[in-house]
């Protein structure tokens, strides 16, 4: 087998001849950037082959490289087959970068009511006079110490096998662990001595890009450890559709394994940070989008992305954690949040649970923004939900200098209305490399306030200012001069970028409006807007209203709940009664297919305007913009 040596780390791996460099890199443990899922479309996985024999169709992929780059050995790692020993340099840009991840505690008041109990028992050994069997003795012990009745606990064979030895070796001083599962009480562990203080559960957010794990004490609910990790499936494609395509091409097993591997790695990190034994984790609660949870369970997600988009299961699922490959206590249970449709998955149910909107009389609007967005409107009685594609612009994609929330990303911008000079803040205060989502929203609002763009996002090139100029194709605004940046280029926002942003924000606002129309609810009746997801956490709420990303309501009633998926998973882990609420939420939601809603396109064109074509929906913004206009005219 050929050996591939990766530079600059000199990490080596062996792969069969004919494998791709991408496969070799992944085998060697590199997190390659593969946006298109290895289809040779995105060019993000480029590597430089320094020596060795390869098979790469330069003609077919000629557009990706200049002649100079080609002569340096640049090629697409996913489309390059290995013919012999290689030396390959992986440029930094081809590796998945470290990103800011939310590991916040949501701060929702918690009620501790877990589904797992530990009973420390001192049993009397059997005698000739007392010949009751080990198990009965154990069950009676549990009943006597306040646990469930003897006859109501089921003990699986694998636990029974342990019992005689543990009882005798411990001198009849043991701890039994009982869990409440859908079938009733179940004994899941018997161990020596008193281990009642070691009772933990794990809450997991299985996201498309990130996996977050919280380990919590099931006794007092405290957070004992956290861990996070990239979803290793990212090497099989960055977005959800490329994952499904990957699964379709026979990759389901690999995706399932990578999901488990990612959770296990985060679990390791969390248990290490907590200094606990992973065998003491007795329940795992996972919230994730529909595709992720289906893949985790090893269910083919292919049919879900076709009409009529039904998930395989719409109720929560429980099984043994080890059955899917999670390394926790031997008989620990796994609880997976239910999915409503292809787009409204367990992560959204968890958002809803975490926001508390499903238990309130007030009407709330919940918005989860990523490349896809989900919107939920309702209260304890009723709930409408919809989902759509916002496009990648709000996450910095499809924007010339857009980037993810990595170090060096401009995350906050303001413009001086008189001089039009921007001031900005970057992540980790590094020299700017580009603009991330929150920075882009700030910029859009500020460009509008300063009348540099009109309400359709066109740059007014009639303004004579050094920062406003004709770019290669369209006008652009210079946010940072190249001397200030880390990339040696002016960082600009182009008219096309602005239009992409407006189209993205319009889909979200139009979705909100469509749900409100369906329900016959005006913006005045919305008591709260919840932003969930990483994006919402850093967003400037005033600016989100200014550009018409969300309906105008008093800004203090807009709340960010951060990572709602992990928050919801935590709540369900610590309070078993919430599991019923979860199923109710899943049943209650009426899903609205936006494509089939005749008013959606109308709302969408109405929303492709800053903030909205119906200015009366944004009275506060209009007042503010009027003042800005006067100020601009003065200067």
């Amino acid at each position: 087998m050929p050996t591939v040596t990766f530079l600059p780390s000199f990490r080596k791996t062996e792969v069969p001849k004919g494998s791709t460099i991408l496969e070799a890199a992944q085998k060697a443990g590199f997190h390659m950037n593969v946006v298109c899922g290895g289809q040779g479309k995105c060019g993000k996985c480029s590597v430089m082959v320094r020596s060795g024999e390869i098979d790469f169709d330069r003609e077919k992929y000629g557009d990706f490289y200049t002649d100079e780059e080609a002569s340096q050995g640049f090629c697409l790692s996913c489309q390059t087959r290995i013919n012999g020993d290689l030396r390959v340099l992986i440029p930094e840009g081809s590796l998945v970068q470290e990103q800011q991840i939310l590991v916040d505690s949501p701060g929702v008041p918690l009620e501790i009511n877990p589904a797992v109990w530990k009973y420390a028992l001192t049993l009397s050994p059997p005698t000739l006079d007392d010949q009751s069997p080990d198990l009965t003795r154990l069950l009676w012990g549990i009943e006597k110490s306040g646990g469930p009745k003897e006859g109501s606990i089921y003990a699986p064979l694998e636990v029974i096998r342990e019992i005689p030895k543990v009882l005798r070796e411990s001198g009849w001083r043991i701890t039994a662990t009982v869990a409440l599962v859908p079938g009733g009480y179940r004994m899941i562990n018997v161990e020596k001595g008193d281990t009642t203080s070691h009772s933990y559960g794990a809450a997991v957010d299985l996201g498309t890009t990130t996996v977050v794990v919280y380990i919590r004490s099931l006794i007092d609910g405290s957070i004992v450890g956290t861990g996070s990790n990239y979803n290793r499936q990212i090497s099989c494609g960055e977005d959800i559709l490329s994952r499904v395509n990957y699964a379709k091409r026979g990759g389901l097993e690999k995706l399932q394994a990578l999901a488990v591997e990612s959770i296990n790695a985060a679990l390791t990190a969390a248990s290490n940070s907590a200094g606990i034994d992973r065998d003491d984790v007795y329940e795992v609660v996972v919230a994730g989008n529909t595709i992720m949870t289906h893949i985790l369970m090893g269910i083919d997600p292919a049919y879900m992305i076709e009409e009529p988009y039904v998930p395989v299961v719409r109720r929560y699922l429980t099984t043994a954690a080890r059955r899917v490959g999670l390394v926790v206590g031997k008989n620990s249970g796994l609880f997976i949040f239910p999915a409503v449709s292809d787009f409204i998955g367990g992560d959204i149910i968890a958002d809803i649970l975490a926001s508390g909107m499903a238990e309130s009389n007030d009407i709330s609007l919940l918005i989860d923004i990523g490349t896809n967005f989900e919107v939920v409107l309702g209260n304890r009685d009723w709930m409408f939900a919809c989902a759509g594609a916002a496009g990648p612009a709000l996450e910095g994609g499809e924007v010339l200098f857009g980037m993810r929330a990595n170090p060096g990303a401009i995350e906050q911008v303001s413009l001086d209305l008189r001089t039009l000079k921007p001031s900005f803040r970057t992540i980790r205060n590094q020299r700017p490399r580009g603009l991330c989502g929150s920075g882009l929203i700030d910029l859009l609002a500020e460009l509008l306030r300063s009348c540099i763009i009109d309400r359709t996002g066109r740059i007014n090139t009639a303004i004579a200012h050094e920062r406003i100029r004709q770019g290669r194709q369209v006008p652009e605004f210079v946010v940072a001069w190249k001397e200030e940046t880390a990339i040696g280029k002016d960082i600009v926002i182009t008219e096309n970028d602005i239009k992409a942003l407006i189209m993205s924000k319009a889909s979200i606002l139009a979705a909100c409006q469509t749900l409100m129309n369906q329900a016959g609810i005006g913006r005045e009746e919305i008591a709260r807007i919840y932003f969930s997801g990483a994006f919402g956490n850093y967003i400037n709420k005033d600016h989100a209203i200014t550009i018409g990303l969300i309906p105008e309501i008093p800004v203090e009633r807009v709340t960010t709940i951060g990572n709602g998926a992990i928050a919801g998973a935590n709540i369900a882990l610590l309070n078993r009664r919430k599991k019923r609420v979860i199923d109710e939420i899943a049943r209650k939601i009426a899903y609205i297919e936006l494509n089939a809603d005749p008013t959606f396109m109308d709302e969408y064109t109405g929303s492709c305007f800053l903030p909205h074509t119906d200015l009366s929906l944004f009275p506060g913004v209009e007042k503010m913009l009027d003042q800005c206009r006067i100020l601009r005219e003065q200067s």
Binding site: W382, S507, Q518, G520, A590, M601
Partner: protein, 444 residues
Amino acid sequence: MALKPLEIYKLLPKKNCKECGDPTCLTFAMKLAGGKAKPEACPYLDENAKTILGASTRPPVRKIRIGVGERAVTIGEELVQFRHEKSFFHEPGIFMAVTDLMTPGAIQERVIFVRDEILTRVGTDLRLNGIAVRSVNGSPTAFTKAVEAVEAVADLPEVLMAGDPAVMEAGLSVCGNYRPLLHAATSSQYWEMCRLAKKYACPLAIRADSLDALAELSGLCSAEGIENLVLDLSSLSLSEQLNRSTAVRQHAVSRKTPALGHPVCIDTAVSGLPDAALIAGVTKFGSVLICDDLSSASRKALLVLRQNIYTDPQKPIQITPGLYRVGSPGKDAPVLLTVNFSLTFFTLQGYLEASRVPCFMLIVDTEGLSVLTAVASGKLQETLVRDAIAKYNLSAEVAHKRLIIPGYAAPLSGRIEDATGWKVLVGPRDAADISEFLEKEWKG
């Protein structure tokens, strides 16, 4: 005044019992609001809810059928004043008039024309609907003969136009079993006309000088047991025709004057400007339009206008996906990709024909969405294009691999190239510029 799903939901028992077949009361409410379910499906509605939901789902304009058999015309059942609010449902019936002064030969020539003439557009056959027989002579015998002449060659829906009940009865003796519309009852003879309408179970048109009088007459006829009424709003003045028909529709849909909740009939010869009266009738609430002879040009334009106005605005007309030819394209002819929204298709086709460049149109199935909408919603995808190229065996039709895509689909160009292996040329956004584009980009 359609109720919103949530307003309906509040009237429902909120039991989520699933007995209606829906998983929750809210999804059932959504179906009710969209007219996709009937309130009776819920076994637990209280009386109040039944009244409200029943009233909001019953059409404010009565449904009426004229004629029998496959050419029978259904009119009424309308819900809205503006087609954009939902849709207009039943196209007006257009009845060509003959008189009892005409020879049977002349009558039959016209009847046969109405019977046989078809204009086919967008895959739909457009035709005139029926015959109106005018009593001009005044004698029952002459009217009988005229109706017999009509009946001899066609079983088209008819409007019998005779103010004298005796003449009307003479006509009914010939075609009374074929549910003609009786035109028209007035305050001076309505009970006679009602008797005939009841005897032959026919719909009855009523006429009065003012809308107040018409509403009153409508009530009187109802009292006689005749509910299938048509309101004749023919006026000497087009201004009056339009004002009256608008008032009638407003009073009907607002349910302010239920006596006016009936379809409208207009004799377009009355105003002396038949084309204008027909246009006003088609656009503004006419359900029975009577006209004398129509020029071929007017007939075509009228049928197309009626088709346009009665198209469901929320459901675009679709073209069958496939490979279409413009002229006789050869192996090196350009291939233009577009969506199966009929307007897009016909507009592009028109400009391509005008450009005189033989070419292929590759029409993909976007379920009738326009290019912009199909791109925005993700319906137009590279896989759709790839599959269409394979399905319609494009490689066998042309000797090149270049595909022209609409300007609005430019964001997909790269992905289409990757998925298909075809070189993509981004065409203009406006079909009007296609000729210039082919001239410059394709030939050049």
